[in-house]
Symmetry: C2
Subunit: 360 residues, 2 copies
């Protein structure tokens, strides 16, 4: 578990994505040549296919840094997770997770079936002691700087302790992936006045205030503040986070297609659009989720990163970059220690809790 | 309660918005002259101020259609709802609600303190029998046509029955405000496979399937489908709906400001932007929430509509338009009947419920 001195090894489940293994090889090319990623890679999937694809693509890296690990099966996007995991022991996903489990890789990246990846990762690598439910953290763009949104779907039925753990997990992820020394952590709610939101949020808010030694809690924020960039980590339940993430991606696409429709409505607009074309390209680069692809399943004994099923090579390359950063930062031991410290801090003796409530 | 033959009367709380009563008078002007709204209006607020504003603006409507109802107090945006309602009996908000209660107005519109409006409306007008918790419905744009999102914040702690009621309320609102004969109703979840989402969603999904006689249930949808426009009503908990609504508004603004930044980065882009300027104006008109402002608090014995605190005159005018449509459609009696029918349909006898579960 954790980082090693020297080069890190990333296991890549090349078979699960919508665009197939070719896109993974393109992603690998982009990661090594454009992002200058200095890692070893173990490509997991159909061996002969991968060999052929590597030959065609001609990567300008030391061939010894790329290994192929054959796996005969693929878990499909629409298979039922638990059944698929039971049936397909030789799937690229389970084999790649196995490499992390056996210490042969420091992290694995997959854009396959999310449910299977989360269940497989949790079952094979196990949650860290003290963590009830792992969480998916993701980096989103904002007006000022990128920030972490956690959980975006691993646990759609959170209690206050789960949300508290998300805060610790997200804070560590922001340190590792965004290089922020003391991330400011906010709790997503509706109406920031005391007592608004719902009972889960109010309970979590009270508990969060006890974590001063571990996280920098900035208090609750509302939906309209998500893209302000005033905080580094936004904590929420997996149901809410998933809906926010997916509706935001959808809205981004919807706004984009509406602008396009309007820009081709008459010749004057079309000339204008041609002249300012690069502005839209740059805007897309700034806001595109591809720049921050790779959502780690946090709170387990190993580094597993999920990328979007439809990830293109840029998204895949960025996921590999995030994976290497997570490995270099070696956050698993710190997370373990901090989760247990958090659990101790909120386990207030009954009598003390009662007097705290009275004083409120 | 409900619509009357002839002109409808809308009570307007002119004092609560961020932009003050002047914006309401501009909104009234726009509603009568541009949207050709043919209603009576009772402007509630500081009498002499309203008289002066009306004189300055010179509305080209029969003066007898506009009345002023003096109210000496104003509930501020940041006042605690219940305390404010207790203290400020002569507030413009409570007075306007009172006009609906006393049958002197068919609907009231306010952009004041949301919490106070929801609490005041619920306490003074009372929920319809059979409705546990009223819900705020709002119209959002989509790729194909506008649709209703319900609840966007009235009830941040819903159970399955509340969500079921939201479906009935939202379906009736889509009929009234969007003129859809048989609205298709979806349930917002994460992962549309059977058993995904969370226990609340799964329970609601099972109950929704029993409402064939009342609503056209289209099944669950995910966050990425919100702006597709394939359904007419999207049902969710008030916490989730509020976060989606506010984060979407924020993202829309964020994308807009990023495009602006990119468009002024060099002279070529600036010329292009100048030529295609009208495209952005039209895009904004198509997607702006101002076009569909006015969220009714559904499930109570009267028509109360909330508009955004920062509503401009266009948003206010559209809220008045929606209010008049809701009154004309006379949906309160239908809602009452359908809610009670829904309650009967889901109250399956224990034995039958058990056998249904087995057959699943």
């Amino acid at each position: 578990m954790g980082a090693r001195a020297g080069r890190c090894t990333i296991a890549v489940d090349t078979m699960g994505g919508d665009l197939g293994p070719t896109e993974f090889i393109r992603g690998l090319l982009y990661a090594t040549e454009e992002l200058k990623l200095d890692c070893n890679f173990t490509l997991v999937g159909k061996g002969r296919l991968l060999e052929r694809l590597l030959k065609v693509r001609k990567l300008h890296v030391d061939p010894s840094t790329i290994q192929i690990h054959h796996a005969a099966e693929v878990i499909g996007m629409h298979e039922k997770p638990v059944q698929a995991l039971k049936k397909k022991k030789d799937s690229s996903m389970l084999q790649a997770i196995g490499l992390v489990k056996d210490g042969k890789a420091d992290a694995m990246v997959s854009c396959g079936n999310t449910g299977a990846l989360m269940a497989g990762g949790t079952l094979r690598l196990r949650p860290l002691e003290g963590v009830d439910r792992p969480a998916l953290g993701i980096i989103i763009p904002s007006r000022k700087k990128p920030c972490v949104l956690i959980d975006v779907g691993a646990n759609p039925e959170s209690d206050a302790t789960n949300l508290l753990h998300n805060a610790v997990l997200g804070s560590n992820y922001a340190k590792a992936a965004l290089g922020i020394e003391k991330p400011r952590v906010a709790l997503l709610t509706i109406g920031t006045e005391e007592g608004k939101g719902n009972s889960l949020i109010n309970k979590t808010h009270t508990m969060m205030q006890k974590l001063d030694d571990i996280i920098d809690y900035a208090g609750p924020i509302e939906g309209f503040q998500i893209f302000d960039g005033n905080v580094d980590v936004i904590v929420c339940d997996g149901f809410v986070g998933n809906v926010v993430l997916k509706s935001s991606e959808a809205l981004f696409g919807f706004v984009g297609s509406t602008i396009k429709e309007e820009l081709v409505r008459n010749p004057k607009r079309m000339i204008g659009a041609a002249l300012s074309k690069s502005a839209f390209r740059d805007m897309k680069i700034r806001l595109s989720p591809d720049q921050h692809a790779g959502a780690p399943l946090l709170g387990i004994k190993g580094n597993i990163l999920k990328t979007h099923g439809s990830s293109n090579y840029i998204a895949i390359a960025n996921a590999l970059r995030i994976a290497s950063q997570v490995v270099k930062h070696d956050m698993i031991d710190t997370i373990h220690a901090e989760i247990n410290q958090a659990n101790r801090l909120v386990q207030t003796p009954k009598t003390e809790e009662a007097s705290t409530q009275e004083s409120n």
